[in-house]
């Protein structure tokens, strides 16, 4: 009856971790929810413009214009001809690249205001898809303190939105061109003169290297990194919560505790779900990088940021994971966990509220203080470090890692105390005060 001695306590934690990992990752729910859906969403986002473009049809029809001045219609006619591909592009009306279908409209010009009524009646029939009425005052010399009259654009009830959108765009440009022509100004030249100069903002490092300033990298890379961290950590945290509750409610917990200590079980579960979280992090980071590469924007992320991501991911995972597993051990049903989860979720929404102020001022007082408040530390630090606009002081990075590590160890200790008592408790869930008592109980 001797027990096999070649697999001692040290191998139990990997066995628990592996089961936790396998039973989470090899489920349809995980594969579909955590991998397939995000990949599909990114794929759809990348392919959507192509599909919208290629699936669009050609919208044909006639557009009637009542232009008493006779100056707008010829310009609009050239513009519509360019849209149909039958004439040279008109500089004031850039080519139509909006999704929803390309236009092949021909212009019917009337200069008599009396033709408005019959054209209105005809609208919607005989391919007449729009009626434009240009008030003569619109192209005359401006009168001080007098607003310009509006162009009247009429389309049938069922007209595609593309027609109104494109005609609004073209008629605005045509009216401006007509006004300039009336004043004898070369519209092309005038447009060139009016173009605002481009300011090429660059940041120069100590080594003399320059890097282009980018709103994208300043605002969206930080939130991207933080959301990545948040999703990976919370998904695994939620799995920790539910698997612990399942082990309690199915009463398998006592069987496990007859084989391993609560600390071994807790460690194994945390490590197993850490692996799950890591799989998600690698998958999502890979997908995001691929997407950035497609748009030639991979250089938005400096290589050092991946190191910060890994460091703060580990910190964030263990902070959130310990809280989730402690809550899971204290309750018997998922429903009961809601009351204990509410304060945790409220705290964890704080990084989202801090995104905007921190992205604008990564070294501001708010950002600096929030960096040292666990469990916000990893989320705030990743926001600051990935904003890229202002370097974070090295001492702050070191201090945040120290604070984060110490508080993670503290939370792990507290969670192990709660776990040890909670896993065998059944019945009414404890209050937060009672949880604190469990931490101090012998």
């Amino acid at each position: 009856m001797a027990t096999d001695q070649n697999l001692r306590g040290g191998a139990k934690i990997p066995a628990i971790a592996w089961r936790e990992f396998r039973t989470t990752v090899l489920t349809k729910a995980f594969i579909i929810g955590a991998v397939v859906v995000p990949l599909l969403m990114i794929g759809i986002a990348m392919l959507a413009p192509y599909f919208m473009k290629s699936s669009s049809s050609i919208i044909k029809g006639r557009v009637a214009i009542v232009d008493v001045s006779g100056t707008v219609a010829p310009i609009l006619d050239r513009m519509l001809a360019a849209d149909r591909g039958e004439g040279p592009p008109v500089e004031s009306a850039p080519s139509d690249d909006m999704p929803g279908g390309s236009l092949a409209l021909t212009l019917v010009t009337e200069t008599d205001a009396a033709s408005i009524a019959p054209l209105r009646e005809e609208l919607g029939t005989k391919d007449l898809v729009a009626l434009l009425v240009i008030p003569p005052a619109l192209v005359q010399a401006p009168v001080a303190d007098q607003p310009w009259p509006a162009v009247e654009l009429l389309v049938p009830q069922s007209a595609p939105w593309r027609i109104t959108a494109r005609l609004e765009q073209l008629v605005r440009a045509a009216v401006v061109d007509a006004r300039l022509a009336n004043l004898g100004v070369d519209s092309a030249q005038q447009r060139k003169l009016m173009q605002r100069p481009i300011v090429d903002s660059q940041r120069q490092s100590g080594a003399g290297e320059t890097k282009r300033e980018s709103v994208m990298s300043r605002m969206f890379v930080p939130i991207g990194f933080m959301v990545l961290l948040w999703i990976c950590v919370f998904t695994s945290g939620h799995y920790l919560l539910t698997t612990t509750i399942e082990e309690k409610s199915s009463r398998v917990m006592e069987v496990l505790l007859s084989a391993v200590s609560p600390m071994q079980l807790l460690t194994g579960k945390l490590l197993g779900q850490a692996l799950v979280s890591l799989v998600m992090l690698v998958t999502y980071t890979g997908v995001a990088l691929s997407a950035l590469s497609v748009f030639a924007m991979a250089d938005l992320i400096a290589p050092i940021q991946y190191l910060w991501l890994v460091i703060y991911f580990v910190m964030a995972y263990f902070m959130i994971g310990t809280m989730m597993v402690a809550v899971g051990s204290a309750v018997s049903e998922l429903r009961e966990a809601q009351s204990l989860m509410t304060p945790i979720m409220l705290v964890m929404m704080v990084p989202f509220w801090l995104w905007f102020p921190i992205s604008h001022a990564p070294n501001g007082m708010l950002a600096t203080i929030a960096s040292f408040i666990p469990p916000l530390t990893p989320f705030v630090m990743i926001l600051r470090l990935s904003s890229g606009s202002e370097p974070v002081a090295a001492w702050q990075i070191a201090a945040s890692i120290a604070v984060g590590t110490l508080s993670t160890l503290g939370m792990l200790w507290a969670a192990s105390r709660i776990f040890r008592v909670g896993v065998l408790m059944q019945g009414k869930p404890p209050s937060p005060r009672e949880l604190l008592r469990w931490v101090t109980v012998r």
């Binding site: 009856m1 027990t3 697999l7 001692r8 089961r19 399942e246 084989a259 065998l424 012998r442």
Partner: protein, 321 residues
């Protein structure tokens, strides 16, 4: 003989409730001990303390020469609250528990299969746990508690939920494990199982040990207090039976006479301090009888007497208790 479990002055309190108070217990290696007591007596708490799942507030517990934490791989445990991973396949579950108990990967499957066959469940290896009946789940749990070949096996209510056929099968397996040299401690409410299997019983109530004796000692110490008399008189002749009852009641030392259904036999409850042999002799003179016998004490009687508030015999002690 060396000691498998030694408990000295263990006490455990949950808030205002004292679950176990000053418990002393010693289970010798190789013994098959029944751990008896009413609901809420503190059996499961004691077992959990033995398993180091919870720790006593005071006192000392030694299992297989040390702490149970260091000997978990040498102990098998079937908890009162049965638990399986619902979605897990039986083979996978047993493999997992075997791994946690220190069984090498290559051996775990063979052992699981062998145990399932022994418990007449060879077909469930690939089934999901949720597909099994309650009795089957219980047997799978039992396999999980013995798959690593423990030196000490602790079974909390191992027969609850089993039909008579499976209970008998389980009894045989428990007996075989005991015969192979393992120490077995099992708690039960069903005294018949304790009588059939155990060489010793420990009874606790309200967290205190109130009996610790071999079955033989129990038989000796709890003198039977009832004599069963079967009259020859026909069941229908009420007049004769009434006369017979009056004679029985007149015997010195008979406190009460109760008839069985149909008045086939009468039970004579004896007054305290009366010698049953004397009453049996006088019964023969009370009228024509088919048989007179001294009722054999059952664990049920002992349980009811001790837990139901009857006089408690002084503890004779066992193995140095």
């Amino acid at each position: 003989m060396s000691v498998a479990i030694r408990i000295e002055g263990a006490r455990k309190q949950f808030r205002d409730t004292v679950a176990v108070r000053q418990l002393d217990l010693q289970i010798d290696q190789g013994s098959l001990c029944g751990f008896l007591g009413p609901n809420g007596a503190g059996k499961s708490t004691t077992i959990r303390m033995i398993m180091s799942i919870i720790h006593p507030d005071s006192g000392r517990i030694e299992v297989l020469g040390g702490s149970a934490l260091d000997a978990k791989d040498r102990i098998g445990y079937l908890p009162e609250e049965r638990g399986l991973y619902r979605k897990m396949r039986v083979g996978e579950f047993l493999r997992y528990i075997a791994r946690l108990k220190g069984v090498p990967r290559g051996v775990a499957d063979q052992r699981a299969q062998a145990w399932l066959e022994r418990l007449e469940l060879p077909e469930v290896f690939v089934k999901r746990c949720e597909e099994l009946s309650k009795g089957m789940q219980q047997k799978v749990q039992f396999v999980a508690s013995v798959i690593h070949g423990p030196e000490l096996l602790i079974l909390d209510e191992p027969f609850s939920g089993l039909d008579p056929v499976n209970a008998r099968l389980m009894s045989g397996v428990v007996r075989d494990i005991s015969a192979s040299g393992a120490t077995i401690l099992f708690s039960t409410h069903q005294m018949v199982h304790a009588e059939q299997l155990c060489d010793r019983v420990v009874l606790i109530d309200k967290g205190e040990k109130i009996l610790d004796a071999t079955l033989e000692e129990v038989g000796t110490r709890f003198n039977p207090r009832t004599v069963i008399v079967e009259p020859i008189a026909a069941a229908g002749s009420n007049g004769e039976l009434d006369a017979f009852e009056r004679s029985l009641r007149s015997i010195d030392g008979v406190a009460e006479v109760r008839w069985s259904e149909g008045r086939r036999a009468a039970s004579l409850s004896l007054a305290p301090g009366v010698d049953p042999q004397q009453v049996m002799g006088r019964t023969l003179a009370a009228g024509p009888v088919r048989s007179v016998e001294l009722s054999k004490v059952s664990l049920d009687d002992v349980f009811v007497e001790l837990v139901g508030g009857g006089p408690r015999p002084s503890e004779g002690g066992h193995g140095g208790d």
